[in-house]
């Protein structure tokens, strides 16, 4: 390491070595940004899923006249150790028109929107983003922000909702008018586009009093993992003699989407680490060239008392200097990219957004810099630089001093 100064001098004075560092920086910046975006996507997905659906959702597989069942469910679940809240909800399918009530009078209209009516108990509801406190009046409704904009309705407007009640041969359409009390925004595009929050008792009445709830949302204490809470809920239901309930964590609810994003993160990481590896190969070529060009210097170092191990060590240090400079620059570039992603997005898209909410779920590209991922990235890059320095270092170490000195 006492030759670090010489390595730094080489690095500063040789454009080829600086270019190698730039190659590494580009790779590191791409991996850094990709990981930050995917991590941001995952954490935002977790936040919005958990905000809306809690940590665990319990769904009776059979729905119907379950009035007595609801009390049993609540009694069993409220005894679960570590439970913070258990909130019953009644979810049902509905249909609304773009211009509110009038659209439903004209079934030829293409302006109809399907939505999920979420019946909540305002006093029990814990999802702050839903603003259930606005449902003070019976017959009131809160729309997802995106849906409200699409329908062109605002607080105070009346909104007619079409649905059905019963099942099988008893299936019958129903329609009711709700008063829009406001809108909510969870931050996830799909949730904000296809959901409306109403009072559970209003929805139960709307459906003829036959379905009092379809799910119970559980939120655990901070130190309880959702999987742990789900296991305890299953056990509590079993002990209470309740069979046939589907108990799912938020992660299982996210299901395929979460798995797909995780999968994409893995794939992208491999692809971009391959880019870093390509940069490291380029470093190998550059350093091998440097060994040839600096043969005279290697001879001088040998004559001054540097043994083969010191000469090899010098080239490895040089490689680490290039790798460290490239990594530092890459991290800085990655951070800049993360902070200015919207600018870059518009620049790449020629003024048009590439990551639209319809495609990307979120109105803004979420960014989350995970120190663990960054550590792995830095470690892997430096390790790759060190690994790829081995061949040039070996070539330099085996140069005969006298012959190298003659290479002036």
């Amino acid at each position: 390491m006492s030759l670090l100064h010489l390595a730094w001098t080489y690095f500063r004075r040789r454009a080829l070595l600086t270019l190698s560092a730039l190659g590494i920086a580009l790779g590191v910046a791409l991996v850094f940004t990709t990981l930050a975006v995917v991590n941001g996507f995952l954490s935002e997905l977790e936040r919005t899923l958990r905000e809306f659906s809690g940590d665990v959702v319990v769904r009776p597989l059979e729905i119907g006249p379950l009035a007595a069942g609801r009390a049993e469910y609540m009694r069993a679940l409220e005894a679960v150790d570590g439970l913070e809240s258990a909130t019953p909800r009644l979810n049902w399918f509905g249909l609304v028109g773009r211009r509110g009530a009038r659209a439903l009078s004209d079934p030829r209209s293409a302006d109809l929107n399907g939505l999920l009516l979420v019946g909540v108990e305002p006093e029990r509801e814990r999802a702050a983003a839903l603003h259930a406190e606005l449902l003070a009046q019976p017959g009131s409704l809160i729309l997802g922000d995106e849906l409200a904009q699409r329908l062109g309705v605002a607080a105070g407007d009346a909104l007619e909702v079409l649905s059905y009640r019963g099942s099988g041969r008893d299936l019958a359409p129903v329609r009711a008018t709700f008063q829009v009390a406001g809108s909510f925004r969870t931050g996830q595009y799909e949730q904000d586009l296809d959901r409306a929050i109403v009072r559970r008792e209003d929805l139960e009445r709307f459906l003829g009093g036959r379905v009092p709830f379809t799910e119970i949302v559980l939120r655990g204490a901070r130190d309880i993992a959702p999987e742990q809470l789900a296991a305890r809920a299953r056990m509590a239901l079993a002990e209470a003699g309740i069979r046939g309930a589907d108990v799912r964590t938020w992660r299982a609810q996210g299901g395929n989407l979460l798995a797909a994003v995780e999968n994409q993160r893995g794939t992208l990481s491999v692809v971009f680490f391959a880019i870093v590896a390509v940069a490291a190969f380029q470093l190998l070529a550059t350093l091998t060239l440097t060994v040839t060009e600096k043969r005279h210097d290697i001879g001088v170092l040998g004559a001054l008392g540097a043994g083969p191990a010191r000469v090899a060590g010098f080239f490895m240090v040089l490689c680490l200097v290039i790798g460290a400079a490239g990594t530092a620059l890459g991290l800085a570039l990655g951070l800049w990219l993360c902070r200015n992603l919207h600018v870059v997005e518009l620049w790449i898209g020629g003024g048009e957004r590439i990551f639209t909410p319809e495609l990307y779920q979120f109105p803004e590209i979420p960014i989350a810099v995970d120190p663990g991922s960054v550590s792995v990235l830095v470690g892997a890059t430096l390790a790759a630089a060190l690994l790829f320095s081995c061949i040039p270092a070996w070539l330099a170490a085996r140069l005969p001093i006298v012959r190298a000195l003659h290479h002036a």
Partner: protein
Amino acid sequence: MSEPLILEARDLHKSYRMGAGRLPVLRGVSLQLRPGEVVALMGASGSGKSTLLHLLGLLDRPDQGRVLLDGADVTELGQSAAARLRAGAIGFVFQQFHLLADLNALQNVLMPRRIACGWSWWRRAGRERERARAILEAVGLAGRLRHRPAQLSGGEQQRVAIARALVSAPALLLADEPTGNLDSATGADILALLLRLARQRQAALLLATHDAHVAAHSDRVLQLVDGTIVGAAPGP
């Protein structure tokens, strides 16, 4: 009891591959050097002076014969052990100066110390810098510390090389045609400087040259002809 030897070569042979055969360069060279002694090694170009210096400086290995440094046989030393000896006990001055082009004069002089100190460099850097500055002042380059070799004249470059050779206070100095690339006036200055500093520091100096004027300043003269020492004479 005779004075101990700092360097002894016994029956050194060295040849190089030349096509299918081998070209003998040294054919049984023996010599002795005492501490503080200045010996001129004279011979025409191609007589094997540089090869002999390389063997004595452990930059290369003889085909046959022994090299003893301060009484210890160093002929078969491994590359790392030989490198350690070079770093501490041997100083080189070359005809081509062999400075590192990317470093300034001070950093060039510090290089042997960086190599010799290894990890302890970081503790000793301050002291070592002072030492290097002092020796650069001694060779008359106090105002040229931050100049790179390309910004120095030939004479100044050789002064840096002499400072570099002396910075580790070696017991043995090997100088290969140190004035060969300089004009006669500068060469005379450099030679005087080298001899003065070697004697001040009690370092044995083996000076390869084909210049009789250079040899005139030494304690002894060895004549190398066709790979063998044909005569030894006391200096003037």
